[in-house]
């Protein structure tokens, strides 16, 4: 699946989304230059229809660009924008060609009638926010005076809690639609960044010498890196199973699988990478931390392993189907839902 889409995106990001650029943006620098270049590439319009100026592709193709985005720890909300634009078009809303959008599927209206969304990924560098609460979908400019952000996460984290007074709904979607799509975006990005972290770790283990040989020759290191590689391969597969829909709408159980399984593996991948790298890995100036932080953040954002696993489990218990049949039909088989 590493095809032309992937290659183009990967090459572009290698140039424009470098560790230096990421450090700058995370330290509070301007993100619009990076976002502008990405927006200009048109990849965020991949799932818009051709009439709307997009490519009319579905998740199977989006996988390639999202995986590449993950590999480069894209700090601006590229993946969520890609999905949000398709949602807006489906809802008959205008789609802005240059705005970046953060997304949350877990908003709620609080007792004071405010729209609240917790720890929204990358919202601090997003132009707009798309939130679903129950069936209702809201769209808000982050610069709106009605919108306040409170940063969450570590010093370099761009997530925030959002509170919107006087929120205006733009329409309805089935409950969970936006949560599924964002979950799948993050799952694919997780698989991508895990792949990057594995390469860095393999390189380091081969280069770093201790006790007179490369540390990759120590049995304890080999055992750990093997475990890591199994998880990285599994994350890739989980994200591909999740991305089988050929249109904009994710298959909900497959997306659940993707987010659940990738999130389940993420922390272990990060911790092995750091164990192999030792102290150098946690320094600001070394690049590893840029990528491992994303493993934690994206695994937590939009619901983690257990949340999404419970969706699958509940569905399996209710289905009364034999388990292999359930797995084949709900995770592998069948055509994607009609749009």
């Amino acid at each position: 699946m590493q095809n032309e889409l992937f290659d183009t995106m990967d090459r572009q990001l290698a140039e424009i989304c470098t560790p230096g650029v990421i450090r700058e943006i995370e330290a509070g620098g301007d993100s619009h230059r990076l976002w502008g270049s990405i927006a200009d590439s048109g990849f965020a319009d991949l799932m818009l229809s051709e009439q709307a100026g997009g490519a009319g592709l579905g998740w199977t193709d989006a996988w390639s660009v999202l995986f590449a985005a993950g590999r480069h720890a894209v700090v601006v909300p590229f993946g969520s924008t890609l999905f949000a634009r398709a949602v807006l078009e489906q809802m008959g809303q205008p789609v802005s060609a240059d705005k970046s959008m953060a997304v949350s599927g877990f908003g709620h209206i609080d007792s004071q009638g405010r729209l609240v969304a917790q720890s929204v990924n990358a919202v601090a560098v997003a132009d707009e926010l798309l939130v679903q609460a129950g069936e209702t979908v809201y769209q808000i400019a982050t610069s709106s005076p009605f919108c306040t952000l409170e940063r969450t996460g570590g010093p370099a984290c761009l997530d925030a809690n959002v509170v919107v007074t006087q929120p205006d709904p733009i329409g309805n979607l089935p409950v969970g639609t936006i949560a599924s799509g964002l979950g799948l975006v993050l799952a694919i990005q997780l698989a991508g960044v895990a792949d990057r972290v594995l390469s860095m770790t393999l390189n380091y283990a081969n280069e770093r010498q201790q006790f007179g040989k490369s540390i990759g020759r120590f049995q304890a290191v080999q055992q750990q890196i093997t475990e890591m590689s199994e998880r990285v391969y599994a994350m890739r597969m989980a994200s591909q199973i999740g991305a089988r829909s050929v249109n904009w709408q994710p298959c909900s159980l497959q997306a659940a699988l993707a987010k659940s399984q990738t999130s389940a593996c993420a922390a272990r991948v990060a911790s092995i990478a750091h164990a192999v790298h030792g102290a150098i890995g946690v320094t600001q100036e070394y690049d590893l931390q840029i990528y491992t932080r994303k493993l934690y953040e994206w695994a937590r954002a939009g619901g983690g392993e257990q949340y999404w696993a419970a969706q699958i489990g509940r569905s399996a218990l209710e289905s009364q189907q034999e388990l292999l049949d359930f797995t084949r039909e709900k995770m592998f088989g069948g055509s994607p839902p009609a749009s």
Binding site: M1, G216, T226, S229, E230, M237, A309, A316, E318, F326
Partner: protein
């Protein structure tokens, strides 16, 4: 870096084949309890194996010229998956079908091919693999069993241990030393097909803690082999064995060993209408991981279809898979222990206890975890 494994669909054309297999298994195994199904590919039933052969389901990927069905590896995947998920007693023919017949097809002479392979496909030749020895364990290169050339062929002396289902088998493909000493390590090892009915062969079953005798110790005392017992090239045994591992490790055997338990547990949870956050979550985690492994195993199958020998990827899937199989046991044990009020059937506890005990072997059979991870590490390019 290693080639990644990408999603492939299982060909839809195989759906009707799957239905056929499923119907056959439903009939054959209607009265097999889960604790018996939990034996999975360790359970041997010669007549069951012959029934599969009658349907043309042994040697599925063997060319029709040699008695097989001439189908591709996806067909074999479907058949294996159905057999394993049902916990069918496939051990008698499993190794012959999975690796011995392909090995003979690859390395054998025309005579060897036409002698052994059709018999495998008819369920008349069951094979076991002779690798470990009492003092070698995982260190296969230190093998001491020896075949000395003589005027009639080869004179075999030594012994093999942990040989699965040898007592049901007609032949063993043994890795033996044909020249040099243990200190020569990999050099001088060859593969021999040993007819287990020959004089001088003694098979001693080893009873395991569950009371079964899957394992055996096999002794060779001046066993006279014919010239054509040698399979492949003399001195190339080590390379041949390693090529075989791609077959051994590529199938869904390393996903479904705990399936009898998982299915029975879900049946009882459904019957008790027990749905709480912890239960939903656990089932979803297990099914999710199972689906991912299935996807990875299908991707390895695609490599075989493409004519590749995905030995390292297969090892990776195997290692991750045995981890999952053991997790199923551990997590269901934990779930039950967390709910002392849950009225689990005696059969559920029996199935669990069997797997708790024998599940430790999942990461031993076909290479210990440490050995396997060493292979994967090298495959990943660690040096």
């Amino acid at each position: 870096m290693l080639k990644p494994l990408d999603y492939v669909s299982e060909p839809e054309a195989l759906d009707s084949f799957r239905v056929q297999v499923r119907q056959f298994l439903d009939e054959q195994m209607a009265s097999t309890p889960p604790s018996e199904r939990a034996r999975s590919w360790m359970g041997a039933d010669e007549s069951f194996s012959r029934k599969l052969a009658e349907r043309g389901w042994l040697g599925l990927t063997i060319p029709q010229s040699h008695g097989g069905a001439g189908k591709d590896y996806f067909s074999r995947f479907v058949l294996s998956e159905e057999l394993l998920v049902a916990g069918a007693p496939v051990a008698a023919h499993w190794i012959a079908d999975r690796q011995s017949a392909p090995l003979v097809m690859r390395y054998g002479t025309d005579d060897q091919k036409s002698f052994y392979v059709p018999r495998v496909c008819r369920g008349e030749a069951f094979f076991c693999i002779g690798m470990s020895e009492p003092n070698s364990g995982s260190d296969l290169a230190s093998i001491r069993t020896r075949a000395e050339r003589n005027e009639k062929g080869w004179l075999l002396n030594g012994s093999k241990i942990w040989t699965t289902v040898a007592h049901h088998c007609h032949y063993m493909i043994a890795l033996v030393r044909t020249s040099g000493q243990a200190a020569d390590r990999h050099r001088g090892l060859s593969q021999m097909i040993v007819d287990l009915s020959l004089p001088g062969v003694t098979v001693r079953p080893i009873v395991d803690m569950a009371g079964d005798a899957h394992f055996n110790e096999v002794f060779f005392e001046n066993v006279q082999l014919q010239e054509d017992a040698l399979i492949g090239t003399e001195g190339q045994g080590w390379e041949q064995v390693n090529a075989e591992l791609a077959f051994e490790r590529s199938g869904p055997e390393r996903i479904y060993s705990s399936m009898a338990l998982l299915r029975l547990w879900v049946d009882e949870v459904r019957a008790a209408r027990r749905s709480d956050a912890g239960t939903d979550c656990l089932l979803g985690q297990l099914l999710g991981e199972m689906a991912v492994l299935r996807g990875m195993s299908l991707a390895v199958t695609q490599e075989l279809v493409n004519g590749q020998s995905p030995a390292v990827q297969a090892s990776l899937v195997k290692d991750y898979g045995t981890d999952f199989e053991q997790k199923v046991i551990r997590e269901i044990a934990s779930w039950l222990a967390a709910r002392p009020d849950f009225e689990a059937s005696a059969e559920l506890i029996r199935t669990l206890a069997y797997l708790e005990q024998m599940g430790v072997t999942f990461s031993l059979r076909g290479g210990t975890r440490e050995i396997l991870r060493g292979i994967i590490a090298r495959g990943l390019g660690l040096r």
